[in-house]
């Protein structure tokens, strides 16, 4: 395996207890970190002068209902269903000055699907986090205004959860099929 990039090395060195796994595939760095340390990791990535990941490109989530959440291609298991890990929140950061990217993943348990909000670091995280709440039902602690963003008030459930019934319809007007 190729030696870790500067970013991954620095992360492991700085947060030995919270980086659960790292890998790098064709230049794409990924680190899995514990939820409770997410904000400090993100702040470090953003503010370290050698990294300067100042742009939050994307923030999304994955539902691993009934599967072991693993991180391809090395298949690093992020957590197991026994441990109650069901979701994973994925962050993509980009460093505009250094032209490099890193992906951070946070395992999220089903019993308490909550992650700290990064809106304090990137105001742009606001709508991303609302979308993840809307679609996956993952709450973001510290978000200024966590409401649904795409669906309407009164919609029940979170449609991108794998156990949302495929044929369930919730029309607001018209035939209630």
């Amino acid at each position: 395996m190729a030696p870790d990039s500067l970013t991954l090395r620095k992360l492991k060195e700085r947060f030995p207890g919270s980086v659960l796994a790292v890998h790098s595939y064709r230049g794409d760095d990924t680190a899995v970190v514990k939820g409770e340390d997410l904000v400090s990791v993100a702040r470090f990535l953003k503010e370290d002068p050698e990294l300067q990941y100042n742009f939050l490109m994307d923030l999304t989530a994955v539902d691993y209902l009934g599967q072991e959440p693993f991180d391809s291609p090395q298949r690093v298991v992020l957590g197991s269903a026994q441990e109650g890990i069901r979701f994973e929140v994925v962050y993509h950061f980009y460093s505009l000055p250094l032209n490099q990217r890193v992906r951070i993943k946070v395992p999220v348990p089903e019993s308490d699907p909550t992650v700290d909000s990064v809106t304090g670091l990137w105001a742009g995280a606001n709508w991303f986090e609302r979308e993840v709440w809307d679609m996956f039902g993952i709450r973001f602690k510290g978000h200024p205004d966590l409401r649904r963003i795409l669906l309407y008030d009164g919609f029940e459930g979170h449609p991108l959860q794998k156990d949302y019934p495929l044929r369930k319809r919730q029309p607001r007007i018209g035939p209630q099929v």
Binding site: L150, L151, P159, Y164, K168, P171, R172, G174, P175, V177
Partner: protein
């Protein structure tokens, strides 16, 4: 007797001629309301713009107030979120009014058989013309428009409300 018969004939003659004239005027002065929500909008613009030029058929003037329009063009995917808005827009239009379902999304929901999409706008409002295609080619739209015009021409023309 003979005089009376002539008078009746004259009345019918007058009414049917008038209906034809009104129908002719209505079909060539369509003010459309483009309810554009998605990708079909690009194709709608292509039909409206110079190359295909909807204006040749008397439907060149989009109005952005439902009060001023005759034909509601529903162009693009209708989600459950926007469905009440579509219904309100339709309700605000003055009679006589017609609805065109532009694109397969509005006809049946298209391939969006999911939690978010209305399975055809005819579940919410009446539809007079379905134009299939994803998106429909401009020729299809114009063909549809001509069919709608035929329909408008041949309809019974309500000159006064309840007449």
């Amino acid at each position: 007797m003979a005089v009376k018969a002539t008078v009746t004939f004259g009345n019918q003659f007058f009414t049917s001629r008038l209906e034809k004239v009104v129908g002719w005027a209505r079909k060539y002065s369509i003010f459309q309301y483009p309810f554009v929500t998605a990708c079909c909008g690009m194709e709608y613009m292509a039909v409206a713009a110079g190359h295909y030029d909807m204006d040749r058929f008397g439907a060149g003037l989009p109005r952005f107030s439902p009060r001023q329009s005759d034909v509601l063009f529903v162009v693009g995917t209708i989600s459950h979120k926007i469905a009440p808005v579509l219904k309100t827009t339709y309700d605000q239009m003055c009679e006589p009014k017609w609805v065109v379902a532009f694109g397969v999304c509005t006809c049946t929901g298209g391939f969006y058989d999911d939690y978010a999409t209305v399975m055809g706008i005819d579940t919410i409002i009446p539809v007079h013309l379905y134009i299939p295609g994803c998106p429909p080619r401009p020729e299809t739209v114009l063909d549809g428009l001509i069919k709608l015009q035929e329909r408008i021409q041949n309809e019974r023309q309500e000159l006064f409300h309840g007449s």
